[in-house]
Symmetry: D4
């Protein structure tokens, strides 16, 4: 009765040429068969590299072993890729986070940059309750082309760092915290109302998005 | 038909002996005749001093001139009192605020302390976007018995100061800001989720409450 | 009794050297005398240029005429400056907005860029309900170094444009709309959840912030 | 002690004649015995066809096999029916969705239309981050009598499609997304504030409702 | 310095041919000069009819008298048009509202239909607290091609009427109410969760949108 | 073109016989001419008494003086009625409020009871910060048939009184307060979560509703 | 070091004499050992009857069998009691619910009434999408002393029934629904804004509270 | 490619000298290996005592037995420490809670005080529905240097106790409750709007924070 179309996923392979960023697969909520089919299509020797984000270990471990071997999988960040892009000659990104609990976001950003061929460094445990941890590393942070700041709770690090760096800076609030932290909504609102000028803010836990924003800057240099 | 009681306001004059803090009149929303009657009852020579808060200039200016003269009225903080309490021998409070826009709250706290006979000092413009402004004054701040921190927007000052002072510290989020600052709700949530331990937080713009909290500490010394 | 400090505003004149952006005065909520004093201090021949934002016409018109004459005041954007910074040799910014109702934000961004010495162009009425208006101008938009996208309501323009430009892109949700638009909170959430990767988002109506974010990019070129 | 009524469910079998839509059973939250009894009552040869929605596979698989065989069950959409209604001679519905993650809603709408005897086609992966996917299929979409648009995140597809089709159009926001997507509340608010005129919006994930709305249109032709 | 485009408003005159609905001007938030220019452009003898919505009486009365005379202005609905479209031969719309307080929305819908050349009737005071008021008029309501239901507070009328009519039905929650009615957000959520199947819901107070949705149905007949 | 019905308001005069409560007119949001017409219809000698609530003094003062004279108008409660109902032989209601700021709600409840012919008494200033004020009057309060408790802020009075009286008890949260009091939403949520069992709660500021709830109890005796 | 008090639970056995309602144990969130101890203390022959609410089957089944046998446990309502109170001579309560999905709340109310010795009847499936189901049973409902109305989603039943019964009426919104139903918050707001006068509303799913409220009425007869 | 730093956690051991409170480890959300490493580093004979909070039993039981033996672990409060600080000579803290369901928060506060070497006593079951439970113990409570009040639901205990004690007082709202209690957000807002003056409020369930706030007071004596 219906005239359903073949519903194989329409990939946006022109995206790289159009916006400089290849398509990625957000795995959360996609059923296992669909993910397995996608992973089979874009493995190590695929000409069309794809980044998989929010790929839970229990999902990754459920696919065939030989398929697993075609991927570089990273548990904490829940990311996988078969092939990365060539290392860019210009540009680098500093990723500064408040605490180790933010690691799943920090490393999603780091892994996305690695996949995109962009140099980066991670500076963890810079939360403002112990200001010296940030101050000591500030000069090094300011040698990078762009800065990503990652923090949960009240995300005060965004304001402090935003007042200390002249670089393009992107904030990622994390869902770390409880009660009125409201799964990151407080950190998000806090970053958006920072009195430090010119911070571009991402959705909660969106390390991938911050890496893409930084990549847009690096691609412009 | 009804057996309405005489509805003259029942004052809680035993409050001072019970909790160490005299009653205050929150004027916002009370009709002019009621306020005028109250102001007439508790002027300069009243044996029962009362603090009036949220007393708008247009209201104060609408009462008879001779009644006005019985009060020490302060426009920015919208407070009035006829008589203050004797200066306490022990204890003092530092009031640290992020910016001059927070002044109406900062000075409500300051005026409440003045009324309660407690020494205080105000440190304005300590917002974290220019960290040096706070750092320069930190040693002096730490000479006080308790600290009140007042900030709007993302209220990052609370976390930073909370990590730098060992004193009892009370945070007052202010309604300064726009958009997702949501009239202080973001600053409130931000202070409540601060990673600096042991901050007691007040309702938005509640400078009076913070002064009372600090007074409870000073009264305990 | 109190040992109040002189509460003259502590200006952060080192900000330019520290983060490449001079301090600005957010006028909303500051009392007239304070604003008048600040305007007197930073007029046309001041060596320390300052940008005034959210300066309402009724406030500007209330200051002395000769003081008014020292400023370039722009009604729609509610901004004023006495002196602008020298025009940068590199970099330019496209400001793309959904409709004329967003003009007060669009022009706050434009005026901030003008003050910072950055070339810009404004593309209004690009809302997606008439897609051709955006498509026709896309090639020109992509000649700029960075893009600012400004939209209220559902802010669908952010996703559409984010999928069509490779440039660093910053979104400003506006408070335009009614009902469930919730004074811009829907546009804000909408931009933050855009499926186009790498958009850095600002607080509602924060045209100034987007201009600063774009300036950080231009300063990096 | 109590005079409890027999609590067998009161079915609204007159609904079809009254509003042109037969009753459906929303299974979520109903205990297994109640569902089993209902499934037993309305199987393949029942004269009173009933659609079961939100019928989880683990529930369906828990009922007796012979009862399962009386139903056409569809896992992704979590729907079941024993008998469908005769195919209508007039009218058809296009179901356009942003991505495959929205499939559970897309197919709830599709299956409801199939049950109601209405021709439909599904157009998936039309999200606006890759506009060409929608544009290519627009002419075909406009051959249908009504359009259902299904999208999560910022649901920008609703505005774009609403500006390109003259047909009655119904939007279903989905719970796809994370963080400030707030389980579909952002997509819902976004659709409701669309600047494209005349979209009728449904509750989050309510594919069934959109199909009923489209059926009201088809029934009117 | 800037290369600003001429910012005359880009009108979407192709909208009628594309989606069957001419463009409308939402006046709220637009400055007086812009509105005056638009009203001058689209008066009685304009070949391109335009509907003005949310046009406050104080704005309309501020424009020149001769310009006023070119428009049919309706105070309660805050709408104006110079010319209406030819009366359609097919289709009609019933507008059913809960109470007279909803009148500003009810008549925005009615006036939009009038402008679009669609027959309509208004049925006010049908709130469910007095069910007989609706029941008495139900048969007449069901003679129309589509139904618009308008209600504030708990909007229970939507569910009741949705269960009694087979017609395409569109709900408009209104901002009528106080407290937890939250300016229409409760009515909106209430309509969206109605157990009556197939209601398409509009933004709060969006009478214009409901008329457009009904027009899409009438245009399809 | 339209076939508009005469839109004179359909009054529900059967309401008294149906639910024991006559219709009332909620004046807020109704235009002056409509209110004037209604007031003219239901004055002192009308056979059909009607209560007007939320009737602002500026509205009441704007109607003709002779019409004003037909009504018993009460400023604080913003209520008016021409005729009251005969005094009931059974039943009475205690109205207990936290503070004088709640007076506009307290007296709306009181005036509604007076209109309905039910005996009542008002006990103000019973807020729990001074518990003795409530305790002293508890025995008297418990002589009434039903209790209405009215409080803003955290509405703690509802829990305390609910644990001290066996009577049917109805809570009205008020919009008194600022900041996170959120115009009464905190008081509302607080009353709804009271650990004292069996409180029936009303919308914010709905003194009229509480009086009607108490009247349902008195009517049942 | 600490001077911890013995933390055996302080039971409020005077509650019955004070407010006419015995204490109940809300089991949700209490650890198994604490519940087991309480169940052991208040079994069938206890002189101090206690009602246990929110007692999950998995908890009840985990206690010793002989302890289970001392209780009348009811799965759907998750309630248990050892002994009930003597049947009251006066008063009875009608419990009217929208659908069988609301059963867990409906029967919590019913079981609480049974425990309190109050006659009741349950009328399920009265949702307004099929109005006849309510109308047919209205006369019988109105023979009871008080009415409890239970509904989720948009809870329209509360307004409809509130306009048809003169009895004291209490509404319980349920968490039934999805999406913008927000786990009952929409139903709660909807009931609170009902235009039917004099409904006392309970927290979401609080069938126990509604029964207590009705008991306060029955106790007053 | 990356120049990742060694990401061993940077401990803030100077915190004790700086703010008088040693660092604590919030375990929730940290992966097992990280926690195990931290527990191994800070066991019984460590010179640098650390408090572990939110350490779930299933995590603690998963670490090696010999490591478990180095810690004093407390299940209800989910806290562990190897060594406590020397008992302070001055100061003590009363912890007053509404009910046993609040125990997990009550004992987190108590255990933190024990770890910090501060004398304390716990007063449970003081909820205001049975006021006598609090009143009986009030004199004893007022012998302590500071008071912590812990309550969920409407948290009315905070207001009542705040009006009865002159001591520094800190409120901790708990997530106890359901429906509109919104996992503690109602209790939080309720405490923040208390009319008792000078309460410092903590995030939901933050017993640790309240103990730190009280410790700041005790450290000041």
């Amino acid at each position: 009765m219906s005239m359903m179309m073949d519903h194989s996923i329409l990939f946006d392979h022109a995206r790289t040429s159009r916006i400089g960023l290849p398509e990625a697969v957000f795995c959360d909520g996609k059923p296992l068969p669909a993910l397995q089919e996608l992973l089979a299509r874009f493995g190590r020797d695929s000409k069309k590299p794809v980044l998989f984000t929010r790929l839970l270990p229990e999902i990754f471990n459920a696919i065939p072993k030989d398929l697993q071997l075609q991927y570089d999988y990273h548990v904490l960040s829940r990311t996988a890729f078969g092939t990365t892009m060539p290392l860019k000659q210009k540009g680098s990104v500093a990723i500064v986070s408040a605490g180790t609990s933010d690691g799943f976001v920090t490393w999603e950003a780091a892994r996305t940059l690695q996949y995109l061929g962009i140099r980066y460094a991670v500076f963890e445990d810079c939360g403002v309750a112990g200001l010296w941890r940030l101050i000591e590393r500030l000069d090094e942070i300011n040698t990078f082309s762009a800065v990503i700041v990652i923090a949960g709770l009240d995300a005060a690090l965004a304001s402090v760092l935003g007042g200390l760096t002249p670089k393009p800076i992107f904030g990622v609030p994390t869902s770390v915290g409880y009660g009125i932290a409201r799964a990151g909504k407080t950190a998000l609102a806090s970053m958006l109302t920072s009195c430090a000028p010119g911070l571009g803010i991402m959705n909660i836990d969106n390390g991938y998005g911050a890496a893409c924003a930084a990549a847009r800057v690096v691609n412009s240099l």
